[in-house]
């Protein structure tokens, strides 16, 4: 009998995913930022710029974070299982890799505000915010970073939950997708109290002022979503059967 072989690099999956995803995120963000700032200049040709364009554009990357979560469980997890890794070690490493990718994305999105600040300063435009945030001005970078981290975390967790359900059985997806969407709606509402009317009730319950946002409440809601999504996802993937491949 042979000794059980071990891959020399115990974190090979996390490294592999991070390397691929970090490069993809950098490329996509570069294109995204170039497009957003070009669009701002295009708008400036017709009307004065009074608001942060980056704030509006930042709606899109959260969907990307959700997509990363879906890919994590519906695409990469089965791939790594097929290449001789267990569900447990794949999920552990994929979670680490996704956390790294989300952090990079949050840093880049925060950097977008800084770049926009420089451009607006040169052009003489005010970098006003429309929505409520954890931060009250577009140069409060630590809180901007924290908000993106919290948002992307919830979106990725919801995506991973929905992705695992859809892969396991599309019928489960009918249940999981609304639950995942509910998670992100609650998270968004916690960060932007004007997001939905019912946030007043949620905000009141959590001690959030209607015209402000509490870092504590946002953290509690993010952790709550994670506390719901993590075990639910694990329940779905711990014995996930791989779908059959067609020749």
């Amino acid at each position: 009998m042979n000794a059980a072989p071990q891959t020399a690099d115990r974190w090979v999956l996390a490294r592999h995913r991070l390397r691929d995803d970090a490069l993809g995120i950098l490329l996509l963000w570069s294109g995204f930022a170039a497009f957003v700032f070009a669009l701002v200049f295009a708008v400036a040709a017709f009307r004065p710029i009074e608001l942060s364009g980056w704030e509006t554009a930042s709606q899109i990357p959260r969907w990307f974070a959700g997509g990363m979560g879906i890919y994590m469980t519906a695409v990469y997890l089965p791939l790594y299982i097929a290449h001789g890794f267990t569900r447990r070690e794949s999920m552990r490493q994929l979670t680490v890799a996704t956390a790294g990718s989300i952090t990079l994305l949050a840093v880049l999105m925060t950097l977008g505000y800084a770049i926009e600040r420089g451009i607006y300063a040169v052009a003489g435009w005010p970098q006003e915010l429309v929505q409520s945030h954890l931060f009250d001005h577009a140069s409060n970078y630590p809180l901007i970073l924290l908000e993106f981290l919290l948002l992307f975390t919830v979106w990725a967790a919801a995506g991973a939950f929905a992705g695992s359900a859809i892969y396991r059985n599309p019928a489960y997806g009918l249940f999981a997708v609304p639950v995942g969407l509910a998670m992100v709606v609650v998270s968004e509402a916690a960060l932007n109290p004007g997001f939905l009317e019912f946030v007043t009730a949620i905000g009141g319950w959590l001690g959030v002022e209607a015209d402000g946002v509490s870092v504590t409440a946002s953290l509690v809601i993010t952790l709550g979503c994670l506390a719901l999504a993590t075990p639910a996802t694990w329940l779905l993937v711990r014995d996930l059967p791989l779908r059959n491949q067609q020749a």
Partner: protein, 308 residues
């Protein structure tokens, strides 16, 4: 670098459907095992459980005594190629043949990069082509490369080479056999090209309706089948006490395919009756055995008192 795979009372259920029904077998290490069965007989379900791709509904799979499912030490020693192999395919720029090979090189602890390169050339695989643009045969060839070059102690090919043309299939058999001599490992081949690959098999498992029908050394199985040809009356008398799987008639001549070992007494008897005894190709034996089971099912379903 080999592994012995034990299937202990393995059952796979999908709702009310039983795909594999309490199957027990031991697949010896360093051998090439042929897994045969008709469509829907449970081959893919069984192999998926064997490789840890699916948890068995009942029973267990052990590799050298260790449980396979969710055991890193066991699953890392297995490589199961289903169809064209598991690759990320979205036809994005990063989903090319070369990336599928790089992924395997990164994740497979015993990956033989040099051999993978040679195999890629031998099968004319275009490295810079997107996976979604490969022909069926090229995709199958990629699966073969991923499985062979993995050098996993237990390597399973589940209908992988169906789409390959004859020269490519023969190249695959040649590579597999040559490597088996140099680096023995346990192979399980599930195939419909039985006769073509039969000479590689050291043992043969035939499953039908999820149950193990035959598990024998390939040579012993071949010796169990014989075609008895001659005058109809003589054949009839000779095979009266034998297990006849199939009968064909041409005028006064009749040929019975019998299953069971023919001893010296039988052979002498056949000679005296002027009957000819010929070996039966494994594929014919497989067809007759599984057809006989079908007939038995039909009979029990229609016979008075038979359970449907």
């Amino acid at each position: 670098m080999t592994g012995e795979l034990e299937l202990q009372d393995v059952t796979v259920r999908y709702g009310d459907t039983v795909a594999v029904d309490g199957l027990t077998a031991t697949l010896g290490d360093g051998q090439i095992h042929g897994l045969l069965g008709r469509n829907g007989s449970g081959k893919t379900s069984l192999l998926s459980v064997a490789a840890g791709f699916r948890r068995a509904s009942g029973g267990e799979v052990l590799l050298d005594g260790q449980q396979v499912f969710e055991n890193p030490g066991a699953v890392r020693r297995m490589c199961c190629i289903r169809g064209a192999g598991d690759t990320v395919e979205h036809d994005w720029p990063g989903d090319k043949v070369t990336h599928a090979l790089e992924l395997a090189a990164t994740l497979r602890p015993r990956w033989d990069r040099g051999w993978a390169d040679r195999l890629t050339q031998r099968f004319n695989l275009p490295l810079r082509t997107r996976l979604g643009e490969l022909s069926r045969g090229q995709r199958a060839a990629l699966g073969v490369v991923l499985g062979l070059a993995s050098r996993a102690p237990v390597t399973i090919f589940d209908e992988t080479y169906l789409g390959m043309d004859a020269p490519s299939r023969y190249a695959f058999y040649e590579e597999l056999l040559a490597d088996q001599v140099e680096h023995p490992r346990t192979f399980i081949l599930s195939t419909h090209h039985i006769e073509e690959v039969a000479s590689l098999f050291e043992t043969v498992l035939i499953i039908d309706d999820g149950r193990l029908m035959v598990h024998e050394e390939a040579d012993a199985l071949r010796a169990r089948g014989a075609a008895v040809t001659g005058p109809a009356e003589a054949v009839d008398a000779f095979t009266a006490d034998l297990d006849v799987l199939a009968t064909t008639r041409l005028g006064p001549t009749r040929s019975d395919t019998v299953y069971g070992e023919l001893d010296d007494h039988h052979r002498r008897d056949a000679r005296e009756r002027g009957l000819q005894l010929d070996p039966v190709p494994l594929q014919d034996l497989f067809v007759h055995l599984t057809e006989a089971t079908d007939r038995a099912h039909t009979h029990s379903a229609t016979a008075p008192g038979g359970r449907p």
